[in-house]
């Protein structure tokens, strides 16, 4: 429906919407994050939820201590190779629709610990990440921006056809393989279905 007509009808006291708009409006305004922090970025995440930045303005004030009740996983901090299988397992335990924000340099790439033997070079190697936030640590504004970005993406999703949410797509992958802690490294070192090795042009 034409936006101008919708506004005109609204002035006349007639509210017109579509099912997908209503559905996405409900979804985007009650994203419950999981109460889950990994490192120093978690402190910024906590600050974001408190009075000064107040994540509650966007409908995400309810941090759930159980993955079964959470919609959003904020990977806030360094993911060590010892922790990575547990992060993937928690993600698997979340119900669809579920979203992931990778917060900070460590969560998106390994950050200052990238060349260490015990830090995962980005959680997007094992689970699909919706929004990446750079920064070390990102400011609460950056997390709010990521959150609004996620809301916009949810708003733009169609309920049918290409690019529909995973929970409306029967063929979509629901469970992501948990890496095994091997004798020298995680096995496999990445999930090619989620993270095909990017091609670097520079060498």
């Amino acid at each position: 429906m034409d936006d101008g007509l919708k506004i005109e009808l609204g002035k006349q006291g007639v509210f017109v919407t579509t099912l997908s708009e209503l559905y996405n409006w409900g979804r985007r305004n009650s994203i419950w994050p999981m109460q889950f922090g990994l490192a120093c970025c978690a402190i910024e995440m906590i600050a974001t939820t408190m009075a000064r930045y107040d994540l509650a303005r966007f409908g995400a004030e309810v941090f759930r201590p159980s993955p079964r009740q959470a919609d959003l996983m904020i990977i806030s901090g360094t993911v060590t190779k010892k922790m990575a299988p547990q992060v993937v397992r928690l993600y698997n335990q979340m119900a669809e629709p579920r979203y992931v924000i990778a917060m900070g340099a460590c969560a998106i790439s390994g950050g200052p610990f990238k060349q260490g033997y015990n830090v995962l070079k980005g959680i997007d190697r094992y689970i699909p990440v919706d929004v990446h936030i750079p920064g070390c640590p990102p400011r609460p504004e950056a997390l709010l921006h990521a959150f609004i970005t996620l809301q916009k993406r949810i708003d733009a999703q169609h309920l049918t056809g290409e690019g529909r949410p995973r929970h409306l797509d029967a063929a979509a992958q629901g469970e992501f393989p948990v890496p095994v802690q091997g004798e020298h490294d995680l096995e496999p070192t990445s999930n090619p279905g989620v993270w095909p090795v990017p091609i670097t042009i520079r060498s």
């Binding site: 190779k81 010892k82 060349q115 033997y117 015990n118 070079k121 802690q181 091997g182 004798e183 020298h184 490294d185 070192t189 990445s190 090795v197 990017p198 670097t200 520079r202 060498s203």
Partner: protein, 224 residues
């Protein structure tokens, strides 16, 4: 507080059979340490804690050191018979000839403990212990029964250096997972080769990323 030499004398008075070596620290701090022999280390540690004058009741830090096999070359003067022509006459002369000899100092693992006294307000006293080698004789006595705070730190040394502390109540890996086989803080540790994606590689990372790509290319070549 007593100096390292005085502490050594006090220990020898209490545990006469202990072999103790004072390791001098030439830096400004002059923090000399005592190297204990592992077989008497436990008795010595008990003495250090319980002695009325020292009463080192607090273990603040325990860490490990990895000493690789070290090859040293030294110049030695060796007597040798040399044939010389002096004034047209051939004579054999005994002469000292300088020779360079190479020998290997076998490597070992070392545990270092820093002790303080909260009661007396002095410290640190640094004690060290060395293992027999870096491969199979890696046992050292655990000092956890003497200082409880050694428990996690000895677990960490076990995890990262591979020193096995006998007498430790719960010797498991602390930081790495149980299935892990290597000891990452050893100098000959080989890191996992996960350099498949290095968008801004430079210096050492660039070298390793290039090596990774070269190996992948070689694998593809042999596979096809």
């Amino acid at each position: 507080m007593k100096t390292a030499e005085e502490i050594k004398a006090a220990i020898l008075a209490a545990v006469p059979e202990a072999a103790i070596e004072v390791v001098a620290n030439p830096s400004v701090s002059g923090q000399h340490s005592l190297r204990l022999d592992p077989s008497h280390a436990f008795a010595v540690a008990k003495f250090l804690r319980d002695d009325a004058e020292l009463s080192l009741d607090f273990l603040s830090n325990a860490t490990g050191v990895d000493w690789l096999d070290k090859e040293v070359s030294e110049k030695v003067k060796v007597p040798r018979t040399v044939t010389k022509t002096v004034d047209g006459v051939e004579t054999t002369v005994e002469e000292l000839v300088e020779e360079t000899r190479k020998r290997t100092i076998p490597g070992c693992l070392e545990a270092v403990y820093h002790l303080y006294s909260v009661a007396k307000g002095h410290g640190p006293v640094v004690i060290r212990m060395r293992t027999g080698n870096r491969t199979d004789r890696v046992q050292l006595p655990s000092l956890t029964p003497v200082w409880r705070s050694a428990e996690f730190q000895e677990r960490e040394i076990f995890d990262l250096f591979g020193i096995v502390f006998t007498g430790h109540p719960d010797l498991r890996r602390l930081l790495m997972w149980d299935e892990f086989k290597d000891h990452p803080m050893r100098r000959d540790y080989v890191e996992p080769d996960d350099f498949e994606y290095e968008p801004t590689a430079h210096d050492e990372v660039l070298v390793r990323a290039q090596a990774h790509r070269a190996r992948l290319a070689a694998q593809e070549g042999s596979g096809a």
